[in-house]
C-alpha cells in the first residue's frame, strides 16, 4: 500500500472528525448523556486514537498500522539494541537460561539475518584459507597454483539460508498441527541465534587435520542440539499427544545432523 494514500485518507478523516466534534460541541448536551451521543463520542475517540498512533509512527517509527507488505511492518522485529543482541548470542552459546525467557516476547529478525550471513562468509573465508594452506603444505616448492573455488560461497549461502528459512517454518507448521503455541518469528529468532555457535567453530576449519575437524564440527553440533531441545521441549511437553514431541524432535535433529554432515563434507574437508 502506498503510504501517501494512507496519509491522505487519515487527513480526510481527521477533518471529518474535527467537523463532527465541532458539531457535537455545539449541539450536544453532555449532562443528559443519551446513548447515541455516548456512542458518537467513543467512535470519535477511537478515530482520534488512530490518528495519534499514526503520527507516532511518523515520529518514533513504532509500527502498528502498517500492512504486511510494507517494509515498516517489519521494523518491530528490528527493535533491539547492541546490548540485547550480544546478550542473546551469549545465551545461545551457553544455554543455561531459556532463550524465550531471555527475548521476553520481543523476537528480532536482525540476529537471524546477520548471524546466518556471518556464518556463510566465515565458512567461505576459512575454507579458502584452509584450501590454500593445504595446497602449500602438500607442495612446498610452491609450484602448485592454488585456485579458489567461488562455488563454495554460493553453496554455503544456499545451505545456510535454506536451513534457517525452511526448518523453522516446518516446525511451526508441526506446532500448529499439534496446537502448541510457538510463534513463527520466535522460532526464526531461536534458530538464527542458534547458528552463532558456528562462527567460532568455522575458524577451526583452517587447521589442516581431519580429527580436529570432526571434533570442532561435533562440539557446536551437540551444543546446538541441546540448545534447541532445552528451549523447545517445555512447549512440546505440555501437548497431550505424545507423538508431537517425537515428530518435532525427529525433524529438528534430522535437519541438524544433515547440516553438520554438509559442513563436515564441504567446508571442513581440507586436511593434509
Amino acid at each position: 500500500m502506498d503510504p501517501n494514500y494512507s496519509t491522505i485518507f487519515d487527513l480526510d478523516l481527521e477533518q471529518n472528525t474535527e467537523e463532527k466534534a465541532k458539531n457535537d460541541l455545539e449541539f450536544q448536551n453532555f449532562v443528559m448523556s443519551n446513548d447515541e451521543n455516548v456512542g458518537k463520542m467513543t467512535s470519535n475517540n477511537n478515530t482520534n486514537l488512530g490518528n495519534a498512533s499514526f503520527t507516532n509512527i511518523e515520529n518514533n517509527n513504532s509500527t502498528n498500522n502498517y500492512s504486511f507488505w510494507n517494509i515498516e511492518y517489519y521494523s518491530k522485529y528490528f527493535n533491539v539494541d547492541t546490548k540485547d543482541v550480544i546478550e542473546r548470542i551469549i545465551c545461545t552459546i551457553f544455554p543455561k537460561e531459556s532463550f524465550f525467557n531471555k527475548i521476553d516476547a520481543n523476537p528480532d529478525l536482525y540476529g537471524p539475518v546477520w548471524i546466518s550471513t556471518t556464518v556463510i562468509l566465515t565458512l567461505f573465508v576459512t575454507s579458502c584459507i584452509a584450501n590454500s594452506l593445504v595446497t602449500y603444505l602438500k607442495d612446498k616448492k610452491g609450484d602448485a597454483k592454488y585456485n579458489y573455488d567461488f562455488s563454495l560461497l554460493s553453496f554455503a549461502s544456499v545451505t545456510v539460508y535454506t536451513y534457517i528459512g525452511f526448518i523453522p517454518l516446518v516446525i511451526w507448521f508441526l506446532c500448529k498441527y499439534f496446537a502448541i503455541s510457538l510463534g513463527l518469528i520466535d522460532l526464526y529468532c531461536l534458530y538464527g541465534y542458534g547458528l552463532s555457535l558456528w562462527i567460532p567453530a568455522a575458524v577451526f576449519a583452517i587447521l589442516p587435520n581431519s580429527l580436529l575437524h570432526t571434533i570442532f564440527v561435533l562440539i557446536p553440533g551437540v551444543i546446538s542440539g541441546y540448545y534447541l531441545y532445552y528451549n523447545i521441549y517445555p512447549y512440546t511437553k505440555r501437548c497431550d499427544n505424545k507423538l508431537a514431541s517425537i515428530i518435532i524432535f525427529a525433524t529438528i535433529f534430522t535437519s541438524l545432523i544433515i547440516l553438520i554432515l554438509i559442513f563436515k563434507i564441504v567446508f571442513f574437508k581440507f586436511s593434509v
Partner: protein
C-alpha cells in the same frame, strides 16, 4: 536523475523571484536590470554546469555561452557534465572529511561504473571456468548487499532515503576498486594484503562517515556491522585473486 531535475526546477523558481524583486528595485535604470539578469543567469548556468555544487559561478564574461539551453547543447557536453558529477563524488569518497553535501544528490551511474569495473577486473583474473560466475557473484553481492544493508538500517530506524544510501554504499567501493586495479600489477602477496586492508579500512571509514545517523546511538554497531561485512567480502574477493 530525478533529483537533478528537481534541483534545476528549484533554481528556476529562485531565478523568477529574483528577477521580479530586482526589476521592482530598479525600474528606471536599464543598466541595473541588465546586471540583475546577468547575475541570475550565472546562478542558473553554474548549477547546470556542476549539478548541485555551487562552485563555478564566476564566469561573468562569457554569458552567451553558458546561457545556452541544455536542450540545444551537444550530447558530449551532457555526458561530460554527468561524468564530472560522478568524478566529483568519487573524489568526495577519497577525501571523506570535506563537504558531505555532494552525495545528497544521488545517482546510480557512479556505483554502476565502479561495480562493472570491479566485476570485470575480478572475472579477468578468475580461473577459466569460473569467470562468468565471479562476475555474477560480484554483481549480486554489490547490488543485493547494498539493498539489504539499506533496508536493514531503515528497519533499525534510519531516516536516509533508499537510493541515496545505495548511492553512498556504491561510491564507497571506490578505494577497493582502485586497490583491485593496482593489485593487477603487483605480484607480492604481502603488499597485496596491506593494500587491500588499507582499501577496506578506507571504504568502511568513508561509508560510516556518510551514513552514520546520530539518532541511532544505541544501535550504531548494529547498523555498522553489515556495512563492515559488505566491504569485508568484497575485499576478500579482491585479495584471493
Amino acid at each position: 536523475m530525478a533529483s537533478g531535475k528537481y534541483n534545476s526546477l528549484k533554481d528556476l523558481d529562485n531565478f523568477d523571484t529574483n528577477v521580479d524583486t530586482n526589476m521592482f528595485d530598479t525600474p528606471s535604470s536599464s543598466e541595473g536590470l541588465d546586471y540583475a539578469i546577468n547575475i541570475n543567469m550565472d546562478g542558473v548556468s553554474g548549477n547546470m554546469d556542476t549539478g548541485s555544487s555551487n562552485k563555478n559561478t564566476t564566469n561573468t564574461n562569457n554569458n552567451n555561452k553558458s546561457i545556452q539551453d541544455t536542450l540545444d547543447e551537444p550530447v558530449l557536453d551532457t555526458l561530460l557534465r554527468d561524468l564530472n558529477n560522478v568524478w566529483a563524488k568519487m573524489k568526495q569518497v577519497l577525501m571523506p572529511t570535506g563537504n558531505q553535501n555532494l552525495l545528497r544528490d544521488w545517482d546510480l551511474w557512479g556505483p554502476l561504473i565502479l561495480c562493472m569495473t570491479l566485476a570485470i577486473r575480478l572475472s579477468m583474473s578468475a580461473p577459466e571456468n569460473q569467470s562468468a560466475m565471479v562476475f555474477t557473484i560480484t554483481f549480486i553481492i554489490i547490488w543485493c548487499g547494498a539493498a539489504v544493508i539499506t533496508v536493514n538500517s531503515k528497519l533499525l530506524g534510519g531516516k536516509m532515503s533508499f537510493f541515496q544510501s545505495i548511492c553512498i554504499l556504491g561510491y564507497c567501493i571506490f578505494p577497493l576498486t582502485i586497490v583491485s586495479l593496482i593489485t593487477l600489477l603487483i605480484d607480492y602477496f604481502i603488499i597485496d594484503l596491506i593494500l587491500v586492508l588499507v582499501g577496506f579500512a578506507w571504504s568502511v571509514y568513508a561509508s560510516i562517515g556518510f551514513l552514520t545517523d546520530v539518532r541511532l546511538s544505541q544501535k550504531k554497531t548494529l547498523v555498522i556491522y553489515p556495512i563492515f561485512l559488505f566491504y569485508f567480502i568484497i575485499a576478500w574477493m579482491i585479495l584471493i585473486e
